[in-house]
């Protein structure tokens, strides 16, 4: 069977490659940010600020590639679903990376030793869960797997529970007020990161479509 529109396919592949690149940076940096926060190692803060700039450049570039493809190629079916989905998830990726950077920046604000053991444990679990959720969202995207949405929605409930527990712990007043204030924000950042992963997996449901697999 002849394959047509190869140039268009290359444009789509280039867009996919950039999306995957953004996903990759996010997953990597999320783990680094949690590490920085818990170890007090603030060396990554500068690195993440650099990455933030890269993402801020990728975002408009992707938007313009997608607009161009929609304008010039009159996409339909899976091509259209892909381009529309990219337009919708790229802002989520950009915002999520900002949250990651905000988490890392807290490593500058207090010493890891200032955290109560329970706070530390909860943050560690939230960090692991957020990283896991993002890996699952990326996997769902890569495989165009609609079932990721259900899995992520379930895991997000775990995240919400951890968030509540952490807020409860912070409200108990065991730590200094400045540290408590910072940690309230951190709790919120992880919780939002979980929501963004859920949103992305939901978008994959539309992206995946309902095409039956090809019969051989």
């Amino acid at each position: 069977m002849a394959e047509f529109r190869q140039e268009f396919q290359q444009e789509l592949d280039a867009i996919e490659a950039r999306v995957i690149e953004m996903f990759g940076m996010l997953a990597e940096d999320l783990t680094r940010a949690t590490d920085a926060l818990l170890t007090g190692n603030n060396e990554v803060v500068k690195l993440l600020a650099e990455r933030e700039k890269t993402i801020e450049e990728l975002y408009p570039e992707l938007e313009s590639l997608v607009s161009r493809a929609i304008l010039m190629q009159a996409p339909v079916a899976s091509d259209l679903r892909f381009l529309l989905t990219v337009l919708r998830i790229v802002p989520e990726l950009e915002r999520s990376h900002s949250l990651v950077e905000h988490i890392a920046r807290r490593a500058d604000h207090f010493l890891a030793a200032d955290l109560s053991p329970r706070t530390r444990g909860l943050v560690e679990r939230m960090g692991e869960l957020a990283s896991d959720m993002w890996r699952q969202a990326i996997d769902a995207w890569y495989r165009r797997d609609a079932s990721g949405a259900d899995v992520l929605a379930e895991r997000d409930e775990e995240m919400d529970e951890l968030h509540s527990s952490l807020i409860g712990e912070l409200a108990s007043g065991g730590m200094s007020i400045p540290v408590t204030m910072e940690m309230t924000l951190v709790a919120r950042f992880y919780e939002r990161l979980g929501d963004h992963a859920v949103n992305i997996a939901s978008r994959v449901v539309y992206l995946a479509g309902s095409q039956q697999p090809e019969e051989n």
């Binding site: 394959e3 047509f4 339909v76 899976s78 259209l80 859920v198 309902s210 095409q211 090809e214």
Partner: protein, 296 residues
């Protein structure tokens, strides 16, 4: 505020996917655009030219007051199926239709059905505008006269009404006696549509009505189709997929099935559904490949 997750969207979509029928025919119900009444029901028709089977086992229903588009690559049989709907293929020597096709519940190829009567109810507009070498007025009055209308006033009314319906009246009302051969391509095609409407058909079949027209004339015909669909049922064959997305309520995608052993090819209906579904989320990989332009 950042958007909250949307589990409902996911759940709804999955429920819809689960409820999707295996049958390729679109379902009646909330998403139906017209009255929901079927005008044609083809139940497994095959169409032959001599021993050559041009189309195999087509099952589909055409709904009242809707525009249905037939799309597909050359040789997929879409025009053959269209022509079978008003027995136009009867005029081709050796052509025959096997299987059951009903028009408003009556077998279209029944023994006591007159093909002339069928074509009076089911009009056709062709790819190339084919005005008769007569005046604009006489082109429109031709059909009604054959049907026995002689009254001048009545004919005037029909001519005016048909030309208004075909969005041509304002352009030609001062030169009704002029030859139709002097019209532009787009005007000539609208004249042919007016001529089809003049005999008050039930269905209008259109075989690539815009392929010889410029974009402005094409827009005029597309607007006209949407304008008149409340009174007629329209089936259009088009190579222009964007036209199908612009005008049609439902789309049928036909493709060519090649038999390597016997080195023969035949047209098949691959997928039929709401136009938005066919172009946004086709279920069959062949439809996907065709509408996205990945194969011919």
């Amino acid at each position: 505020m950042e958007p909250t997750p949307e589990p409902n969207v996911v759940a709804e979509r999955q429920a819809r996917a689960a409820a999707r029928p295996q049958d390729t025919r679109p379902q009646d119900g909330a998403e139906s655009y017209g009255s929901g009444t079927t005008i044609f029901d083809a139940n497994g028709i095959s169409i032959y030219y001599g021993s050559f089977r041009a189309v195999t086992d087509v099952k589909l229903s055409i709904y009242e007051n809707e525009i249905t588009a037939f799309i597909g690559p050359s040789g997929c049989g879409k025009t053959t199926v269209l022509r079978s709907l008003n027995r136009m293929n009867d005029l081709v020597v050796g052509a025959r239709v096997e299987g059951d096709v009903r028009y408003r519940g009556t077998p279209l190829y029944g023994k006591d059905v007159s093909p002339i009567a069928v074509r009076r109810k089911i009009g056709m507009v062709f790819q190339k505008p084919n005005p008769f070498p007569k005046s604009i007025y006489d082109n429109i009055a031709y059909g009604p006269r054959i049907n026995g209308i002689r009254n001048k006033k009545r004919l005037d009314e029909i001519v005016e009404k048909s030309l208004i319906q075909a969005a041509l009246w304002d352009e030609v009302k001062h030169r009704l006696k002029a030859s139709a051969l002097g019209l532009s391509g787009g005007q000539a095609q609208r004249l042919c549509i007016a001529r089809t409407l003049a005999v008050e058909p039930d269905v209008v079949l259109m075989d690539e009505p815009c392929s010889a027209l410029d974009p402005i004339a094409t827009s005029a015909i597309e607007d006209l189709m949407k304008e008149i669909k409340s009174q007629y049922t329209i089936v259009i064959v088009t190579h222009n997929m964007q036209q199908a997305t612009r005008v049609s309520d439902r789309t049928a995608f036909f493709s060519v099935l090649r038999n390597e052993e016997s080195d023969t090819r035949t047209g098949v209906l691959v997928e039929y559904g709401q136009t938005q579904q066919i172009f946004e989320d086709p279920h069959d990989p062949r439809t996907q490949a065709y509408v996205t332009g990945r194969m011919g």
